[in-house]
C-alpha cells in the first residue's frame, strides 16, 4: 500500500464501530430520507468522506466485491487492505462507491427471481440537506417525507422513476455526506416538489 494511504487507519474499534455504523445504515434504509450518524474512522483517506469510509468498512469484504468509481479508484489499496474486498466492474459489484450518480443501467438490478442480486450504490454527496426538495413516499414513511440532498443530477426523479418501475428489481442508494448517511431503497417513490 502506498505510504500516503497507510497513514489512514480503519475503525478505531472494529466490532462496535461497525455495529453502530450498520445500525445507522439499517435505519437509513428502513426510514428513507432520514439522516443517521455513523461511527466513522478518525481520518479516512481523501477524498473519502467519513460516512462513506464507515459504510465500506462495515459492509464490504472478500464476499462482496466493490467498484471504486472515478477519483475513488486510487483508494483501491486502502479498501483492499482494510476489507479484503476485490475490485470489480460496476455490473458485477455488490457495492459501487461514487460521487456521481451512475447510469443505473450499468449496475446490476438483480433478476425477477433473485432481486437481491443487485448493486448498492454508495453515493458521496456534498450535503444531505439544502438541495432541491424531493418528496418521498413508500415503505418506511408514514405519509410523505421531504428530503433535499445536494449533488444529485437535475433529472434524478426521472431516473429514479425508471429504477422504481423495475421493482422488485432495482438499485438501492446509500447517500453519504460528512459523518451522516441517508438511504433510498428501491421500494420508494420520489417526486420533485417545488
Amino acid at each position: 500500500m502506498p505510504a500516503d494511504l497507510l497513514a489512514h487507519p480503519g475503525f478505531a474499534d472494529p466490532v462496535h464501530d461497525a455495529q453502530a455504523s450498520f445500525r445507522a445504515v439499517l435505519q437509513a434504509l428502513a426510514r428513507p430520507g432520514t439522516l443517521w450518524r455513523v461511527a466513522p474512522p478518525a481520518d479516512p483517506p481523501p477524498p473519502l468522506a467519513p460516512a462513506a469510509a464507515a459504510v465500506l468498512l462495515t459492509l464490504v469484504d472478500a464476499d462482496a466485491p466493490v467498484h471504486l468509481a472515478g477519483r475513488f479508484a486510487a483508494l483501491a489499496p486502502w479498501v483492499a487492505f482494510h476489507t479484503g474486498s476485490a475490485n470489480a466492474e460496476p455490473g458485477a459489484a455488490a457495492f459501487v462507491l461514487s460521487d456521481a450518480l451512475a447510469d443505473f443501467a450499468t449496475l446490476a438490478a438483480g433478476t425477477d427471481e433473485v432481486p437481491e442480486a443487485s448493486t448498492t450504490l454508495i453515493l458521496q454527496v456534498p450535503a444531505l440537506d439544502g438541495g432541491p426538495k424531493l418528496t418521498l413516499r413508500g415503505p418506511g414513511i408514514e405519509t410523505t417525507r421531504n428530503f433535499a440532498p445536494r449533488g444529485l443530477p437535475a433529472d434524478f426523479a426521472a431516473r429514479w422513476a425508471a429504477n422504481r418501475r423495475l421493482y422488485p428489481r432495482g438499485i438501492d442508494l446509500v447517500l453519504c455526506a460528512g459523518s451522516t448517511v441517508a438511504g433510498l431503497p428501491r421500494s420508494i417513490f420520489i417526486a420533485e416538489s417545488s
Binding site: 439499517l26 434504509l29 426510514r31 464476499d63 443487485s118 422488485p168 438501492d172 431503497p185 428501491r186 421500494s187
Partner: protein, 277 residues
C-alpha cells in the same frame, strides 16, 4: 465473554447477515437466502432470530426475548441469558424498556415504537410451502406475484368450513407485492404488523432465509370481500388481570376439566396487575 466475539458471531458472518438484512429492508416481504451458521442450540429453537439479533445488537441495546408472549419460558430465558453472557447487554422483560425484542410466535400487546426493532423467529418462511414444496417453483411464483393458489386454498376453506380456518401463520401481503409468512403468530396479531412503527426483521435458521418489513408498511391479511379477515381470540376474560381485549392462553388446571384463561403476554398481564388499584 472471554474467547468469543461480541454477540458470539464472528465479524465476517455479521457482515454477511447485515448485507442480507439491508436487501431485505429494501424489498419488504421478499425472502433472501443467507448462510445460517451452526449455533449453540438446535434448529427450531430460534437460531434464525438469534443470528439476526446478533447482527443488529449493540452495547447500548436493551434486549427482551419472549416465547409465546412469555418472558419466563425456557426458550426465552436461554436466549436472553445467551446474549447477556456473549454480548453483556442489558436485558429486560418490560416491552416499553426494550430496544430490541426477539420473539417466538407473538407480538407484544404494548404498541411498539419507532425506537424499537422486533426480531421474529421463523420456522417456515415460505408461505406457499404447503401448496408447492419446490423452492424453485415458489421462487418463480413470487417473481410473478402468482398467488392464485393461496386464494384457492382460502376459498376451499370457506367452501368446506364456512370460514377461513387459519388460526396462526395467517398469510399476509406486504407492500401490495410479496406474499409473506408472518411466522406462527396468532392471526389475532396480524393487524399489529400493518403499518407498525417498529422495524420488523425475520430470521429462519434451518431454512436459511431472512426477510423484513420496514416501518409504516402495508401488511394485509388475505381475505375475500364477503369473508373479511377476522382477528379472533378466546371469548373470555384474563383470570389474573381481567383484560377483555388481550390474547389469551388456555391453561388446564386439573384432571377434571378445570381450566383458566390468562394473558399470553406475561409483561402486559403483570403491568396491569401492578397498576390495578
Amino acid at each position: 465473554m472471554k474467547g468469543y466475539n461480541f454477540a458470539y458471531l464472528d465479524e465476517q458472518t455479521k457482515r454477511m447477515l447485515r448485507r442480507t438484512l439491508l436487501k431485505a429492508v429494501a424489498i419488504p416481504g421478499h425472502q433472501i437466502p443467507f448462510g445460517a451458521r451452526e449455533m449453540p442450540l438446535p434448529y427450531g429453537w430460534g437460531t434464525g432470530g438469534i443470528q439476526v439479533t446478533a447482527a443488529v445488537l449493540g452495547r447500548a441495546d436493551t434486549l427482551k426475548v419472549i416465547d409465546q408472549g412469555a418472558d419466563d419460558t425456557t426458550n426465552a430465558v436461554s436466549i436472553r441469558r445467551f446474549f447477556a453472557r456473549t454480548a453483556g447487554v442489558a436485558t429486560t422483560t418490560r416491552t416499553a424498556s426494550a430496544t430490541i425484542i426477539q420473539t417466538r410466535h407473538r407480538i407484544p400487546e404494548t404498541t411498539l415504537t419507532e425506537a424499537q426493532i422486533i426480531v421474529y423467529q421463523v420456522p417456515q418462511p415460505e408461505p406457499l410451502y404447503q401448496l408447492e414444496p419446490s423452492r424453485t417453483e415458489t421462487r418463480r411464483m413470487h417473481a410473478l406475484a402468482d398467488y392464485g393458489a393461496m386464494h384457492v386454498r382460502l376459498y376451499e376453506q370457506v367452501a368446506r368450513y364456512g370460514q377461513i380456518a387459519i388460526s396462526y401463520d395467517y398469510p399476509v401481503m406486504v407492500n401490495g407485492r410479496h406474499l409473506m409468512a408472518p411466522s406462527p403468530i396468532p392471526a389475532f396479531d396480524n393487524p399489529k404488523m400493518h403499518r407498525m412503527r417498529a422495524l420488523q426483521l425475520f430470521g429462519a435458521g434451518r431454512e436459511k432465509r431472512i426477510y423484513a418489513v420496514p416501518p409504516y408498511t402495508a401488511v394485509v391479511s388475505l381475505d375475500f370481500e364477503d369473508h373479511p379477515f377476522r382477528a379472533s381470540r378466546a371469548a373470555h376474560v384474563c383470570a389474573l388481570c381481567g383484560d377483555r381485549a388481550s390474547y389469551l392462553d388456555e391453561v388446564v388446571t386439573d384432571d377434571r376439566g378445570g381450566r383458566m384463561f390468562i394473558c399470553s403476554d406475561t409483561d402486559h398481564c403483570a403491568s396491569r396487575r401492578e397498576s390495578a388499584p
